[in-house]
Subunit: 327 residues, 2 copies
């Protein structure tokens, strides 16, 4: 900036005025300054600016499990859209479902003085965020609630959705329904399990623990689970997949099976409608999840001090075929 000032024959303050479009600059002077800026390729240092002004940095942090997972990338996109509309940029990070990594990312974002943080929490302990929140960095939890603090949260109706899925399968004649989901340590998985039990109870079918398998979905873990569930004296006639990852692995495991059970996936996913049979899903609007969370965050950034809110978005059944086959 001082180089520009020297070249234009003005003080650095005047250069500052020009780059900030402040009024009290003579047009001729402004032009000289602009020419100097152009010639030197000057670009103002936003870091220094933010430091001096003590204002916001114009960035927010987003922590998800894996930015490469289509579910989270859609979320990322929705968040970015809102952030852009508020003139902010997004720092993203993948926690890899590891609470230490989540914490590390969150604290690094705080050190960068992001204006706020959106997090799909991996861990259950969030006390480490209390000082940061008290210091003025708003945090909104997405898809899963905070472990041990009170904070804004945006969720989907995990229980209601799962109950509806079970009800739907029972309506089509199933009484041996398996629940195949991610590890019970994960909030959404354990909530959906609760919904599964409640669905069984309401439909008046026996809740059989042997038909519930919950662990991190990999091709082999899901493959093994499928073998177990579909064999034996009373095999499952329908499978409820606890999320989109489980559903994809389940489909692959079933691809070459001779007799395929009915299935419903919690979470919609691309091409579900083009498979054979098309996959019935409990769908929810992932973009809406991101929108709602980001809107909430920016309300906080702009000074909203009301008590923490909890938003629950609806889940609805999209019947496509796989969930409507008889036992």
């Amino acid at each position: 900036m001082s180089d520009v000032a020297r070249l234009a024959g003005v003080s650095i303050k005047t250069v500052s005025r020009v780059v900030n479009d402040e009024p009290a600059v003579h047009p001729d002077t402004a032009e000289r300054v602009m020419a100097a800026i152009e010639q030197l390729g000057f670009r103002r240092n936003l870091g220094a600016r933010n430091l001096r002004r003590g204002s916001t940095t114009g960035t927010i942090g987003l922590i998800v499990e894996d930015v490469g997972n289509p579910f989270y990338s859609e979320l990322n996109r929705a968040v970015e859209r809102i952030a852009t509309s508020f003139g902010r940029q997004v720092l993203t990070g993948s926690s890899e479902e590891n609470s230490d990594r989540e914490r590390e990312l969150a604290l690094e974002f705080c050190a960068r003085r992001v204006d706020g943080i959106l997090v799909v929490p991996a861990g259950m302990q969030h006390g480490y965020l209390v000082p940061e929140m008290r210091a003025g960095t708003p945090v909104v939890f997405i898809d899963r609630p905070a472990g041990d603090i009170v904070a804004d949260t945006v969720l989907v109706d995990n229980i209601g959705g799962t109950v509806e899925a079970v009800t739907h399968l029972v309506k089509h004649g199933h009484r041996r329904i398996a629940f195949l989901a991610d590890s019970a340590d994960i909030f959404t998985a354990s909530e959906r399990l609760r919904g599964f039990r409640e669905g069984c109870a309401r439909a008046g079918i026996f809740y059989d623990e042997r038909l519930v398998i919950m662990r991190t979905p990999t091709p082999s873990s899901v493959g093994d689970a499928v073998s177990a569930l579909l064999s034996g004296l009373e095999p499952a006639t329908a499978v409820l997949a606890g999320n989109n990852r489980v559903a994809v692995h389940l489909l692959r495991a079933l691809a070459h099976a001779d007799k395929r059970p009915a299935m419903i996936s919690f979470d919609d996913f691309e091409l579900a409608d083009l498979l054979d049979p098309p996959v019935t899903v409990m769908a929810h609007d992932v973009s809406a999840l991101g929108h709602a969370a980001a809107e909430l965050l920016f309300a906080r950034v702009q000074g909203d001090q009301s008590t923490p809110r909890k938003v629950v978005l609806p889940v609805h059944l999209v019947a496509r075929g796989s969930g409507e086959v008889a036992p």
Copy 2:
């Protein structure tokens, strides 16, 4: 920091020493300082630190067309992985295939003094980056080359891959092959068109302009294209989809067709193997694309001054069924 210093009864410099693990601090003093830091919830301001040290900011920028597109989110993930290994964080932005937006994002990243930029360019003019690159911000182009400047670039073998796809279809008896791709303004689409023509020439089949349709893929644009290609006196017997978006829309358009043409997709995509018939693709390693680009970028960040490099990654055929049906 001065609050911490006051509480611990030391100077701010000593606090600085403690937070930076500098050796010459008495253990007792260090402990008092740590206690004060804990009590006040102090976290050092990375912006101020970077300003003072004049060092790197520890961030890189990534510009893609759409962070929500699985192709780019996989790329994002790969880039993030490398960035993390170099202790950097990633600012992401979606250009929405708009060159003004691309430019805006890139210049904002520069204003934030990112250590480097990775960009899947939307536009063809990149002169605006010259001052920034001269000022020391390395830029690596991914998937598409820079328009009018010389810079590091990582591409996939678009021409070779398309030639192979055409050859494969011809080998299975097709002579009326359609090419359905994104707008020819997009580098990858136009390169693949070149490959398509070359493939036709090499295989000795007639290149029929009427079988080439290139425009932004939407359900309706692809649907219309399919109707046109598959009707008439000499309909196409095979379709080559120019990218994963086109492929998905194509599959949906064909879902209820009575006679389905053979098809190959340039780009692999999730569940391609589970469709009926499974989709034959020209696959390339998107993660490798991100890895290579990020590695190249960090080499530059660390001072590599060699002449700009161009890396071309291989594409290979994955025969699954849809590309092996006879006319």
